[in-house]
Subunit: 200 residues, 2 copies
Amino acid sequence: MCKALENLQRYLINRGGFTPLEADQVVASFTTKVLRKHQSLLQQGDVWRYHAFVSKGCLRTYTVDEKGLEHVISFSTENWWPGDCESLISGAPSNYNIEALEDCKILLIHNEQFIDICRQVPGMNNMVNAMYQRSFAAAQERINAFLQYTAEEKYRYFIKKYPAIPNRVPLHMIASYLGITKETLSRIRNTLRKEMAAGV
Amino acid sequence: MCKALENLQRYLINRGGFTPLEADQVVASFTTKVLRKHQSLLQQGDVWRYHAFVSKGCLRTYTVDEKGLEHVISFSTENWWPGDCESLISGAPSNYNIEALEDCKILLIHNEQFIDICRQVPGMNNMVNAMYQRSFAAAQERINAFLQYTAEEKYRYFIKKYPAIPNRVPLHMIASYLGITKETLSRIRNTLRKEMAAGV
DNA sequence: CGATTCTTTGAAAACAGTCAATCTGTGTGG
DNA sequence: CCACACAGATTGACTGTTTTCAAAGAATCG
């Protein structure tokens, strides 16, 4: 088994509570997709019919508003499931774009096959369920951050929660993710640097 | 069957795709809880171990930050499932408060019983799954609104999406939900009134 | 009624955004 | 290997939306 698939297998065993055999069965239905930096996994207007697991790399999901401005909805690194669950449920064209920020290895499966597996492998439903619960809980936490934090507090919270992201992702995308401008984020970084230097 | 339970039965048939008989079986495990205005369904620090269906009334879920300020996370009206899914999964004390804004009728079930029903009634897993998917999609949409809208745009979007809420809920709670101050929202309302008067 | 709670209004202050210029680093092609 | 282009990051001055603070006017409830 190639390394990309092994990552998913490990994920299924550790996070989904599967036996190695069950995990094999699930993994066998996935195909590997290599994405080079700047390539897309999903483009606005297309329908999302898959489940995708990030085995290696980093992607961003973003929207484009009426003024043509991009807004980063989320980052997806190893062991995440990027996609558009709205489009998946409804079959409607997606409003989201998903783009590789680095060279990526993605494991893909069509939704129909995925549903088959859910029927065949007991425990699959539970894992999917838990996945969505976690996603929802995380989204609520983020909403909470929008409600109570200033720009600086949002950034502090972000680097505490995702310490690896700032090193992998350009600043202006993080600013977009936080709902602030790149200039503001640059100034915030500056004050944080000064704090570090002062030994706070 | 009392009227409160009938609402849930109807929900299960229409939204969950159950037969009336299956729906009966599910409904039978729920108990009715009456909440008077200002009473709580969940208080910060308690563990949430239930699933709750709003048969009648309106509630708010909110957090209290370090400064003692309240932030409205969500409103729940008829046919919604308020609760703290984070606390439910992890078993950790909740950070949320859920309070009745009107006299309410809530249908409650313990999570353990709920899991039993999921095992017994086929299709239950799918419904729960779809519920969380919808919740997650809605949360993402809200995050998107935070990213691209001004205060006024957020309010316009809100009344368009939830036209019934403004009539049932005090202004300052809507302001909190939108992440703006009550004074700002009051001023926005003022300009909207003027627009209406001018016939825009 | 009196007492909350909710809403509105005004003026001043603060935070973040905009615009514009410059600086940095990286990679590509001559 | 250098020069150039380009994307990303920083800085400054200015603008503007939203917040804050304070006060007073509705509305609701016991």
